[in-house]
Symmetry: C2
Subunit: 378 residues, 2 copies
């Protein structure tokens, strides 16, 4: 017997309502029954995205929705400004490259947030920039960008603002309309508490104009086709029926709690996690710009970071994430996103303490759990 | 209280084992636990595809896998030969068009199968043809193509054979290797008895050579990235974890029965369905080339075909499919694919009789069910 705990930044744990919904008999997608489900999903997504824009549901992971954004608004030879502050910022650059789009890059030190003033400078210096591509929460470093400030800068230019909110949507605030986000891309397996397999993409009227003009090849991710279908409460291709049925259950939970309460829960969990690791004498990877989505922590000297993560998972059933790419072995990441609440964090910290102790790290046993508990008590 | 029956050519009903698997707590995809699942899926898929080739699992519907085939082996300006015998043959042409690939078309009358001799002639006449794109079972008409014969023709040319087996794989025979199919594309929601959301694509060594040379833009569907990941039992992007866990349950069922028994069950259900509709005085849309996957039936004179389908579904809970595109209202289609067995067919025919009688069609009540029952008794 072993209980498993998932504290990773995607997939995140599934609520029982979501799991039960996926076990229902399947229904056909070209029926009034499924149209009602699509309608409910569209309304619920608008609530979470805080937008009046169209939102398209794709049968893909979040990366598919990122590609849909690029291929639908940009053409070969166009210029995009990419804010690169980690692995997922780099993904924007890679997609641009694949499509023959020139990527002007703002390289932000991993662990830091983007400076909106840099974006403003670049936009002024190069009026050919058609789109600004950035990341709400850079999962690889745990950093959240100030999208509201970036939106104020991009709004006054010809460029559209494209936000990868795969990690963060439904966990931290993102006001699509108020913050002038032209395209917001997301995925199912993070704040939306679903398995991976759905991509989402919202499109503002400013971005919609670009879609008609794009010369990039696309078919499965063609948002012109998707728009025609959406206007008839339909999808251009067979949708991921089961995941959309489950999506409505997750959206119900978010609506019941209300976005403010959901964001407050995430904020508190992040505070508790940061307090706990500091109490253990560990150092945050991003002390200034850490998000409420996932906390990156430096592996202390003399401790094998990969062994730490592996032991927590394989011996005790608590799965956290290691570092990615250049941060492999150097950090570990504890997610506090989606269907996770305070006692999951307590378990995660308790397990971290246990394995740190076993690996010979010196600290006061229980200090992390106590610090987290004190935050939750407030 | 109402029981629902799904007799549509995708999605098909889900076995209880598959439904239960989807309700399990989710696990993380970058773990040895999930690697074992991916390994099992790879082996099981090779069994069903009857191949030694690599098979890639995509988080997409079948159309995404079709696009992956085109974008990875063909470049703008290349020529492909498309066999168009219905809506899904036309999809190959549309994808080629989206990617600037010249599609030479063999237009086959809807309801008829392709003639391999026509393919041979075209290949001889135009040595620029790099790929032959066709359909195993054209769901829109119910017709199955003779892939073995097509394979013999294409094998001796420079071109690769690309088969859309979305509808049909795991229901009727398709010997990927023995029939020289270079690329076989499939989806989860048909013979594989899963919800939609997974695409599959197998690649022969002959096709793999083309992948390196393609200049078409692609990122999410880039099979070079997929191959690098597959060699490490991994996926390039977050996979649709839950559906892959469920896939292994479906593959277990197919292995337990064995492919021969599975194909024999489909054959018998198709025979029974054809016998039943003929006994009701109805006419098959494709009397010669009808598949064992789905049976298309002409709507008799004086009967409203759309009302027939709608009444069966909305009043009695039995969902069959109407006609698509130019066949809308002119045919209805009864699927006998996936997790469907003889008594589902009996229910479907019984409900068809009931609604036909209510709509004023003249026939001997019970004749269809009797004819089907006689086939199943054999």
């Amino acid at each position: 017997m072993r209980k498993n705990y998932l504290l990773t930044p995607g997939p995140t744990p599934l609520p029982p309502e979501v799991r039960a919904a996926m076990a229902r008999p399947i229904i056909h997608h070209r029926t009034p029954q499924f149209q009602a489900i699509l309608k409910e999903a569209a309304d619920g997504l608008k609530f979470v995205f805080q937008t009046k824009n169209d939102i398209f549901i794709l049968a893909s992971s979040g990366t598919g929705a990122m590609e849909a954004a690029v291929a639908n608004i940009l053409s070969p030879g166009d210029t995009a400004l990419v804010i690169q502050a980690g692995k997922f910022g780099e993904r924007w650059t890679e997609i641009c490259k694949a499509y023959g789009i020139s990527a002007e890059i703002i390289d932000v030190e991993w662990g830091k947030a983007a400076d909106p003033a840099d974006i403003e400078k670049k936009l002024k210096a190069n009026p050919r920039i058609k789109a600004v591509l950035l990341t709400l929460c850079e999962t690889s470093t745990g950093v959240a960008n100030d999208i509201a400030a970036c939106g104020r800068v991009v709004k006054n230019s010809e460029a559209v603002l494209v936000v990868d909110a795969i990690s963060g949507l439904g966990a931290i605030d993102l006001k699509t309309d108020d913050w002038s986000c032209d395209i917001v891309v997301s995925g199912s397996q993070k704040g939306l508490m679903l398995p991976p397999g759905l991509g989402f993409i919202s499109v503002s009227p400013k971005a919609a104009k670009l879609i008609e003009g794009s010369r990039s090849p696309r078919y499965y991710f063609d948002l012109r086709k998707a728009k025609q279908a959406l206007d008839k409460t339909d999808t251009p291709f067979t949708p991921a029926i089961t995941l959309i049925v489950a999506l409505n259950e997750a959206l119900k939970l978010l609506k019941q709690d209300g976005l403010e309460a959901v964001f407050a829960r995430h904020k508190k969990m992040a505070e508790a996690t940061r307090a706990a690791v500091k109490a253990l004498g560990l150092e945050l990877f991003s002390p200034k710009d850490g998000s409420d989505v996932v906390t990156a922590v430096k592996v202390p000297a003399g401790i094998d970071g990969e062994k730490l993560v592996k032991t927590m998972r394989d011996t005790y059933g608590v799965t956290i994430a290691g570092g990615q790419a250049e941060l492999k072995g150097k950090i570990f990441r504890i997610a506090h996103m989606g269907f996770i609440e305070e006692f999951d964090i307590i378990v995660g910290i308790s397990c971290l303490e246990k394995v740190l102790a076993q690996l010979g790290y010196k600290f006061q046993m229980g200090a992390g759990v106590r610090a987290a508990g004190e935050v939750f008590l407030k």
